[in-house]
């Protein structure tokens, strides 16, 4: 099978989409383009509108305003049966009284395919999802992960142009989830089908998506590749929602530097003017520990001395809580590698110097008092 890759051609485009439930706005002016063959994840906390957007794309719950174009065709007001998509739900929604084979064959019937052709296609799909022997069983006889694979096979049986996945892994055990997300990604790459997945699990989104759409309160906060979203979050919400992020109350001072107490730090470039109250942010794994005796006042480096207050062993790294009176009561969290901890002989109660690398220290708008 040839490998397909996302092309630059837009397959699905959503323009100025609004969805109102009574006076509540679930989606506000959503505009988004998905490329052919691309795997896009809608990521956000519950109630952010991601599922509503997916259901609007499917035509299951029509949007109040705005258009949806799929494959160059305006499908904005079409019922689901006149659109071209396969869908997988969190609940699997397998027909309990039909065998696995009949579940998969459900969409192949009445499509002009002969009996032999359907049987062959079902066998092919069972192979594809790695369950070739299970055709005669009923859904309840399979495990959750197996059921979800069958649901996937059923959804792609008719070669739809668009695959929609609504939290497909949320009902599964953690181990199965990790395994299956890899398989789904593989399958999607193999088939080259444009895919939209809804999830609230950031790890899942980072691992699977070509592009992530981060949503909150019915608006898109940021669209970007997993690394962009992680490395260059557009705002504090994205920064905070994805991964861990230290937040330090700060102020922009001369030269765009960030002041914390009487100390100032150089940081990643930003567009705030002097005197703007901001939040300085840095991820725990970006904090660099330095050896004993390192000069904390080197003006060319963002260094600061801290008290290593608490260490927590998390398997592949140490999570450390660092204190400095400049940060007030809040602690800085830093993830140090096991190597670094051994090399620097770090231990609870030690005074140490850390560096906040200039390009990893970011400034964000301070949210209104909450």
């Amino acid at each position: 099978m040839t490998q397909h890759h996302a092309s630059d051609e837009t397959y699905l485009s959503i323009d100025n989409l609004w969805k109102a439930f009574g006076s509540f706005l679930a989606l506000k002016d959503i505009t988004l383009a998905v490329k052919n063959g691309e795997f896009v994840c809608f990521l956000g906390p519950s109630g952010c509108g991601k599922t509503t957007l997916l259901r609007a794309i499917a035509g299951l719950d029509l949007q109040t305003k705005g258009t949806v174009m799929q494959g160059g065709k305006d499908v904005s007001n079409l019922p689901p049966s006149e659109r071209d998509f396969g869908i997988v739900f969190q609940s699997y929604a397998l027909f309990p009284n039909l065998t696995i084979e009949k579940n998969i064959a459900f969409g192949l019937e009445n499509t002009g395919r002969g009996k032999a052709e359907i049987t062959a296609r079902v066998a092919e799909l069972l192979d594809l999802v790695g369950l070739p022997e299970q055709g005669k069983k009923y859904p309840a006889q399979l495990s959750g992960g197996q059921q979800q694979r069958i649901a996937l096979a059923r959804a792609i049986a008719t070669n739809p142009g668009l695959l929609l996945l609504d939290e497909p892994l949320s009902a599964l055990d953690a181990k199965v989830r990790v395994h299956l997300r890899h398989e789904i990604k593989e399958l999607q790459r193999k088939l080259g089908v444009t895919t939209v997945m809804v999830t609230h699990d950031q790890e899942e989104a980072l691992a699977m998506a070509d592009r992530i759409v981060v949503m909150n309160h019915g608006v898109i906060e940021q669209v970007g590749s997993p690394t962009e979203i992680y490395r260059e979050p557009a705002n504090l919400f994205v920064a905070d929602f994805i991964g861990e992020m230290n937040q330090i109350t700060s102020m922009v001072t001369k030269g765009g530097r960030l002041s914390v107490g009487e100390k100032t730090f150089a940081c990643h470039e930003h567009s705030f003017s002097d005197g703007t109250p901001v939040v300085a942010a840095i991820r725990p794994e970006d904090i660099i520990p330095h050896e004993e005796g390192y000069d904390a006042d080197d003006p060319n480096r963002n260094c600061i001395d801290v008290l290593l207050h608490e260490m927590e062993f998390l398997g592949s790294f140490w999570r450390c809580r660092l204190r400095n009176e400049r940060f007030g009561a809040s602690e800085l969290i830093a993830d140090f590698s096991i190597n670094a901890v051994r090399r620097l002989r770090l231990g609870e109660g030690r005074q140490m110097v850390i560096e906040l690398p200039t390009d990893r220290l970011m400034a964000f708008d301070r949210p209104e008092a909450s």
Partner: protein, 672 residues
Amino acid sequence: MAGISDATQMPAGPVVKGKLSRDDILMRGGMMVIALYLIITLALPLYAMLSKSFSTYRVELSQYEFQISDDAGVFDGTILNAEVLNQQTGAIDPAELNTGSDGRLPVTGLFPDFSFRSPVMYQVRNTSDEGRFLVGSTLQDGTDWVTLDSNTFRRVQLRPVKATGFDNFINYFSTPALFNSIKNSLWIAVVSTIVTVTLAFWFAYALNRSCMRYKGVFRLIAMAPILVPSLLPGIALVYLFGNQGIAKELLFGASIYGPIGIVIGSIFFTFPHAFMIISTALAISDARLYEAAASLRATRWRTFWTVTIPGARYGLISAAFVVFNLVITDFGLPKVIGGQFNVLAVDIYKQVIGQQNFEMGAVVSVVLVIPAIFAFAIDRLVQSKQVALLSARSVPYQPQPNQRTDLISFIYCAFVGLFIVGILAICQYAALIKFWPYDLSLSLNNYQFDKMDGGGWASYYNSIKLGLFTAVFGTAIVFFGAYLVEKTNGFRTGRALFQMFAMLPMAIPGMVLGLAYIFFFNSPSNPLNAIYGTMAILVICSVTHFYTVSHLTAVTALKQMDREFESVSASLKQPTMKLFSRVTVPVCLPSVLDISIYLFVNAMTTVSAVVFLYSPKTSLASIAVLNMDDAGDIAPAAAMGMMIFYTNAVARIIHLLVSKGVLVRTQAWRTR
């Protein structure tokens, strides 16, 4: 990023209007057809009844004028108004002027000299277009003079004019014999409710909270009364405590014909309903609450009042209103054993069948609907709360063996069981006795129904036919309707209206529905008039009468289906009806069978709704019980009643076997 969103942020302009798929159109169409069915078989008849209750008929004397000729047949031109004539002669009592829609008033009394042999000629006319009178059976509604000889004038009858107003209600409430029934009905309903709910509570408590033996047998016995018409316990009570009853002395001179009989019989036939509801409420209680109570060293008495009763309170309230509703709307039992004690449901029958006063029947119906709707509304409210009590995390209560409790429970259940079995056994025994109480030898004479009033064996076969038709058509209509209303996309207003219509039948007493059918379907101007007096109207009436419970059963089953089946099917471009037949119906088959047995059993036992609607050709077994009892053939009535019992019992057994067979064959997927 405010959490509060306001729709005013949205730009102006048209809202996206979805294009309907073929399935959407089909489903909405189907829903509308079934809604139309409910409108025609429920809403319109009720409307007809309501308008009837406000219709008054009165003969307006001032609308008629007469002339009298001399012996030679020559008129001198003197015009006499009927009103004036009546003032002079006083021949017609003003009360006679208020009449029903069929009222007819002869006029010769206005002419003291009238003789049908005299050669005098008479002329009559209406003074207005509204006036009508009959000559023989010919209707005259013109304003021209009609000339008649005196022999024909004898056959002139004035017809009443219809008006709308509260007169019927005023009339009702100024007749103590009528409105006393309200008090009587409420009284027996309240007493029966208190006694039945108390008895059923302890019975359910014993079965759920003790380790006594034979629980299965007692459960079966408790459900038995559902299989017989409500009037059967009345017949048994007549044999026990009636004028020739074997245990008459136990009443110490009080008469069983009246409130005592109605209450005892009501306890019998409402017991299973109360038991089922309370038993469900007790079964869902959480063991952890009892463990908590025990760890707090609460006494059993205190645990009972602080844990058991609050846990079952919704069940108790719901049971109370269901029993209240059943008793106050029941017709068969008070008809058989009520004696001179008038209740509302029987009043309707008496007004309509006995006195042919349809308007008054309608008035009593309206009066009866009020408490019925009230009880129904409270029951619905309570039941919606009961659901919220259920939690997946509850741990079911497991009773511990306790010799004393188990023994008390067993003795109590044995007494209640004896009461239920006893009533049935008396009926069966009486049916087999040659001539109570003089010749107690056994015979099958009482089963020669063809020799009695009531339609004979044909009515028994009619009942089975009615049961089967009701089960088949009713299940199809109800389940399909429930599916459409549950799974149709959008169309909120339509669906809400449909739900409302589907709930309505439960609030409408059978007597009221039956009477409403007379007004609606028997009207000559109704194109559906042809079904009047046929099996079809009985089937329609039964399906509508028992619609609500069936609908709720179907909805409950459908709600357990994954909401996304329809979405998946649509995404696979498969017609919804394929999903319905291949997945929905097979998965819901146990509920479908439950609905059909419910409809069958109820169609077999119902009396109230069909008592106004059967014709000689479509007489029913339950009606035959009523009519034979009325005619004094009590033993055959008991025999027929027991035939209904056995038929329903067999139907239940068949239902059980079929359900099991179906489960094994088509529901293999349920087992892992």
